[in-house]
């Protein structure tokens, strides 16, 4: 498995830091941003291969951040996460260019498999809503 650069955009600091810790423990490099604007800014220097974005964020929401990140790098893997999943959040996530739509708390094994994947297979969209 190749170590990847993972950017985590989440306004709840403990939420962001706990995920960063875990992603690092899994052997990847991780950085955090507490709002969408900062995430887009950080991406220009960090050049993440994968970005995990909380949809509901101040300053710039996750959808808008995703669009800008996609413009900067169209190969970046975008994972949306939300605490209030609806058909609407899923559809908007798809329209904004996200590859995955996860419900908090994230299924961690599934996330790990995504991060560990070295092929481009993971760029295939997988939109899920909890039943």
């Amino acid at each position: 498995m190749k170590s990847k650069r993972v950017l985590i955009a989440e306004d709840n600091r403990d939420g962001a830091e706990s995920l960063r810790h875990l992603v690092e423990a899994w052997g990847h490099q991780a950085q955090v941003a507490y709002d969408g604007g900062t995430a887009v800014e950080r991406a220009t220097s960090f050049r993440p291969e994968i970005v995990i974005i909380d949809i509901n964020m101040p300053v710039m929401d996750g959808y808008q951040a995703a669009r800008l990140l996609k413009v900067a790098d169209d190969r970046v893997l975008l994972i949306a996460m939300t605490g209030s999943p609806t058909v609407e959040t899923r559809d908007r996530a798809r329209d904004a260019g996200f590859h995955h739509h996860y419900v908090k708390p994230i299924e961690l094994q599934e996330l790990k498999d995504l991060l560990d994947c070295d092929t481009l297979d993971h760029l295939v969209p997988g939109f899920r809503l909890r039943d």
């Binding site: 939420g15 706990s18 810790h21 875990l22 423990a25 507490y34 605490g83 209030s84 908090k104």
Partner: protein, 388 residues
């Protein structure tokens, strides 16, 4: 004079009588705009007078009396519908919503009888039709009220689920980190603290939920007043919040006699909720001003001021209702829409009042007025809060 004519011609007198009743009997009406209360009752009456003026066959009458009236385009339906929605949003309960119709019916009939009408067969029929129209409007209003109440409850459950998921994510990711860390024999600084903070957050969400559920069951908020110095309580709460929000300025000023009798934990919770809100809804550079003053009149007044976006007057009135969330709420803050409701419950259980005012120049100010000795009044206030 016939009843429908009487309703049309003596609307003002009926409205005065109705308003007096509503003020006396409906606690939630105290928060309501006088004009709104009258306005609606008038609309219902107009629609009913109109309905009474329309000829009706015996068959239609029987259908209506059994609740099978045909759905019709008309003011009565609209007025009753609006009424149901508005009352749910204004924090009325179903009893109070129905009581408005009772008051309206009683006001009309009492005044009409007092006017000494001739009472023959036609008049009896008119009263029957009036009652049917009232019942129909009431049934519609209650239906819309319950729809709106259900919608608000569902929204609330969605918010609650969302707010619980965030700390749960932290706990889950941290637990996983600890497992991976143990396998790698690596220290995991800060992970345990995050688990504790997230658990604390879930605990406080559930505490708020319990307070809300209890108050909704009519138990009211229980308080245990003891002698204390309000200055000390405010200093403790302010310093706690300064630690949690190191980048924010919270100013505290105290004056006058601040020894009083109240529930320290509950009053602390109320002040903490107000300051927390002030922080959430104002800019990072603005100071939050907290003031405690003891007046000679035997009251302790607590105010919390912020300079966030001003709140319109109508909104100020409904802020203390449960499940109302402020606009401009950033996703980061935690908010079930119960904070101010709990504040009001606490203050009322002490026999005090909570209010909000907002303007561009003076900022947004929440004011809590507490009697100096809540020990002597809390039981009475406790029993008097809800209409039985």
């Amino acid at each position: 004079m016939g009843l429908s004519k009487f309703i049309t011609e003596c609307t003002d007198a009926i409205m005065d009588e109705f308003e007096a009743f509503a003020r006396e009997q409906l606690p939630a009406a105290a928060n309501m705009d006088l004009a709104a209360l009258r306005d609606h009752a008038q609309q219902v009456l107009t629609a009913i007078a109109l309905d009474m003026g329309t000829p009706q066959t015996m068959r239609e009458q029987r259908a209506k009396s059994m609740g099978h009236a045909p759905a019709k385009e008309g003011a009565a339906e609209t007025a009753a519908e609006t009424h149901g929605y508005q009352r749910a949003a204004a924090g009325f309960n179903v009893k109070q919503t129905a009581a408005e119709y009772r008051a309206l019916r009683a006001s009309v009939l009492r005044l009409w009888f007092k006017s000494g009408p001739e009472l023959g067969r036609d008049q009896v029929f008119e009263v029957v039709r009036f009652n049917e129209a009232m019942d129909e409007a009431l049934a519609e209003s209650i239906l819309f009220f319950s729809d709106e109440a259900a919608r608000m409850r569902n929204l609330f459950l969605g918010v609650l689920s969302h707010e619980l998921r965030t700390p749960l994510s932290t706990i889950k990711a941290s637990g996983e980190s600890l497992i991976v860390g143990a396998r790698l024999k690596r220290e995991m600084p800060g992970v345990a603290e995050r688990v504790l903070r997230a658990s604390g957050r879930i605990e406080s969400l559930l505490d708020d939920l319990l307070d809300y559920v209890r108050s909704g069951l009519g138990e009211g908020m229980r308080v245990a007043p003891t002698e204390l110095d309000m200055r000390v309580v405010c200093e403790r709460i302010v310093s706690e919040l300064r630690v949690n929000h190191p980048s924010r300025t919270i100013e505290l000023s105290c004056d006058g006699e601040l020894h009083c009798v109240c529930d320290e934990q509950r009053i602390g919770q109320a002040v903490s909720n107000l300051i927390g809100n002030a922080i959430t809804y104002s800019g990072g550079d603005d100071a939050v001003e907290v003031r405690a003053s003891g007046s000679a009149g035997g009251e302790v007044v607590l105010t919390v001021r912020n300079f966030g976006r001003p709140i319109p007057k109508e909104t100020c009135e409904s802020l203390f209702e449960p499940l109302v969330r402020g606009v401009g709420h950033a996703g980061g803050g935690y908010n079930l829409g119960l904070g101010l409701y709990i504040v009001r419950e606490i203050v009322e259980a002490h026999g005090g009042t909570a209010s909000a005012a907002s303007s561009e120049s003076a900022g947004t100010v929440f004011t809590l007025r507490l009697p100096r000795d809540a020990g002597s009044v809390s039981t009475a206030a406790f029993q008097g809060i809800r209409m039985s």
